[in-house]
């Protein structure tokens, strides 16, 4: 803690000095060249999904033309008659081919579907002013439905901004929020296009977007939703970008890929309990040539905050043939009453007997934690201190950051509000929120808007995400 005026000046002055740095041009070039070399050498790719991390493919593939196996050729003929599929080498598509290749190759299901001629050719395109949205391909299988798209015609926008002090977000030491701080920049929400699968056959749908990539021909990305419930359905997409909005609908079919999949329901009573009454019920398993999907329900109080699922206490995996297989994707949908969540976890393909292991899960616990907006303000969760390490407020936008030691009891906080000196509370609706986790520390950041004239003196959390420990082990039905 600061002990005198000189140390305060020293700390603040050094931080201002560091934050005033500007990228030097030659280092910029060195970094870009290094990234280009490294990307070519390792072929590593990555994407961001909303939940569990994915495993990147080991190297980029140049997509080869569809195999000429008789069965797949026959299938392709059937599909061409109804839903045309990709033909030829996608990698050869001018300028966007490498990006589409990366999207397909980093997903085992998409890769298999491509190699077997099962990616439906894009047949839908829509415009709004100069913006053109084109569906490049659709892949529907019993695990998910993915649309690969391209957006062109609208210039891109810039990326993230720094905090008001110019410091890297999350780096500044606690300072009391004061009205005299310079205004925080507005978060750049227009940097990426917003693409959503709004409905399937008229029913509202949840979707998750893979980070789009900017190419010379515009943005290329992928958006996915759950598996179609029947062989074909109408998808409706909604797109917003750069002030433009459009929607478009088209048919997608899973008939081709479904022929290679097998769903097995779990026996009645496939249920177990983690700590604190969290109940897990295994529903079914879908086996495909490239992937295995485990579907299960978890009955628990919802935790409404984000968290990082790293570490062993929350790991889920399959044990098969002496190997451990970690999930490559994970999605969930809450019941209408919020009492349970249906989870879909995708693993690499499994053959032979296998077990599904759940080491732990996260549930929400109501609480009230209050941090004064002063340096080093602390609260305790299950004996572990959670320290408010940063709080900035410019009269309109509020930003706060907490840190706590990585542990196996809780993962974070949620349902924040701020209070003023009279005790009036204002709920924080985040414009951005993040959780970063290392082996030692978790950092939680939130940025939210406040009404004009509201002067916060404290920030509160009304919920913590607790870990219900296991393990639970299920034999996967075959």
């Amino acid at each position: 803690m600061m002990s005198d005026e000189f140390e305060v000046r020293l700390e603040e002055g050094l931080k201002r000095w560091a934050s005033a740095g500007e990228a030097t041009p030659n280092l910029d070039e060195l970094i870009k060249n290094g990234m280009a070399k490294g990307a070519r050498a390792s072929g590593q790719v990555a994407s961001e999904r909303p939940t569990v991390a994915r495993k990147p493919w080991a190297r980029l593939w140049a997509l080869r033309p569809v195999r000429a196996a008789a069965a797949t050729a026959a299938l392709a003929v059937v599909l061409v008659g109804t839903f045309p599929t990709w033909a030829g080498a996608v990698a050869d598509w001018p300028l966007i081919g490498p990006v589409v290749t990366e999207i397909v190759m980093q997903d085992a299901g998409l890769k298999w579907a491509y190699e077997n001629g099962l990616i439906q050719k894009g047949i839908a395109e829509a415009r709004d002013g100069e913006m053109v949205f084109k569906v490049l391909g659709v892949m529907a299988d019993p695990l998910r439905t993915t649309v690969i798209y391209q957006i062109s015609g609208v210039p891109g926008t810039s990326g993230a901004k720094t905090t008001a002090t110019g410091a890297a977000p999350g780096d500044s030491k606690p300072v009391p929020a004061t009205e005299s701080d310079p205004p925080l920049p507005a978060p750049d929400t227009a940097a990426w296009p917003s693409v959503a699968i709004a409905s399937v056959d008229g029913q509202g749908a949840a979707s998750w977007q893979q980070s789009p990539v900017r190419t010379p021909l515009g943005w290329v990305g992928a958006i996915s939703t759950y598996a179609l419930e029947k062989d074909s359905a109408e998808l409706k997409l909604e797109v917003r970008y750069g002030g433009h909005r459009l929607s478009l609908s088209f048919q997608a079919s899973r008939a081709g890929a479904a022929r290679f999949a097998r769903e097995v329901k779990a026996p009645v009573g496939s249920q177990g309990q983690l700590a604190d009454g969290v109940t897990v019920t295994l529903d079914s398993v879908i086996y495909t040539p490239a992937e295995t999907l485990v579907k299960y329900d978890v009955k628990k109080p919802m935790f409404s905050g984000g968290y990082s699922s790293g570490g062993t206490s929350l790991s889920h995996y399959i044990e098969a043939g002496g190997r451990r297989l970690d999930p490559v994707q994970s999605h969930g949908g809450w019941s209408a009453d919020g009492s349970s969540v249906t989870m879909f976890e995708v693993f690499p393909a499994v053959s032979g007997p296998a077990k599904f292991v759940i080491n732990g899960d996260v549930y929400g616990k109501e609480t009230l934690l209050t941090w004064d907006l002063t340096a080093g303000s602390k609260q305790s969760v299950d004996g572990a201190p959670v320290t408010l390490t940063d709080a900035h407020w410019d009269g309109a936008r509020f930003q706060a950051q907490w840190t706590f030691a990585t542990n196996d009891k809780f993962v974070g906080m949620a349902e924040f509000d701020v209070v003023d000196a009279s005790g009036q509370a204002y709920p924080l609706k985040a414009v951005s929120e993040g959780t970063a986790r290392s082996s030692q520390q978790v950092t939680k950041t939130i940025v939210a808007e406040l009404p004009t004239g509201f002067h916060p003196v404290a920030v509160r959390a009304h919920q913590v995400g607790m870990i219900a420990a296991g393990p639970l082990v299920f034999d996967l039905p075959r």
């Binding site: 000189f6 000046r9 020293l10 700390e11 002055g13 050094l14 931080k15 201002r16 000095w17 560091a18 934050s19 005033a20 740095g21 500007e22 990228a23 030097t24 280092l27 060195l30 970094i31 870009k32 290094g34 990234m35 490294g38 390792s42 590593q44 990555a46 994407s47 961001e48 991390a53 994915r54 990147p56 810039s158 990326g159 993230a160 901004k161 720094t162 110019g166 410091a167 890297a168 977000p169 999350g170 780096d171 030491k173 940097a191 980070s211 990539v213 900017r214 984000g306 990082s308 699922s309 790293g310 951005s432 929120e433 993040g434 959780t435 970063a436 986790r437 950092t443 950041t445 940025v447």
Partner: protein, 167 residues
């Protein structure tokens, strides 16, 4: 993730942190380049999205600087004032920040590092000891000594007269 777009707001800060810890621009550039490439190769491990990117890449840089510092162990610093003027007087956003950095940059490497880690990067004394691989007592001693020197220079800057002596 558009990696370069995410990196851009933080790059200047990372360069200054590396310069402050390593003391010369060449080593700092090497460290930043290695750290950024490391981050790029492992970008799929980032959790928390863009909001967490800055703190995450900073941690990678600090690990890189730690390795660079460890490699130098065994070289005995000469005195508490660096004879090497390699840590340049680099301007800050205002006169006070510039003056404070200039004072810190004149310290010997082992004193400068503890000041940078504690005051610029918020490391606790225990964390500094772990980071530099030195006893906690040594950290306390270096911090005390560095602060004593800096306070004296600060008073001299303000014109409170004392003889300037070598430490």
């Amino acid at each position: 993730m558009d990696f370069m777009e995410w990196l851009r707001p933080h790059q200047g800060y990372l360069e200054r942190v590396a310069l402050a810890l390593l003391g010369n621009r060449a080593d700092a550039e090497d460290a930043v380049q290695e750290a950024v490439l490391d981050a790029y190769r492992n970008r799929h491990q980032l959790r928390g999205g863009q909001a967490a990117f800055g703190a995450w890449v900073r941690r990678i840089l600090l690990n890189q600087c730690r390795r660079a510092i460890a490699k130098r162990r065994g070289l005995v610093p000469i005195g508490d004032l660096a004879e090497n003027a390699a840590v340049q007087a680099v301007p800050g956003p205002d006169e006070e920040a510039t003056d404070l950095w200039n004072m810190v940059s004149r310290l010997g490497e082992h004193l400068r590092q503890v000041i940078v880690l504690h005051y610029m990067l918020d490391y606790s004394q225990a964390e500094i000891a772990d980071y530099l691989g030195i006893p906690l007592g040594t950290v306390k001693s270096r911090l005390g000594k560095a602060l004593s020197i800096l306070r004296r220079w600060d008073r001299q800057e303000e014109g409170i007269g004392h003889d300037v002596g070598r430490v």
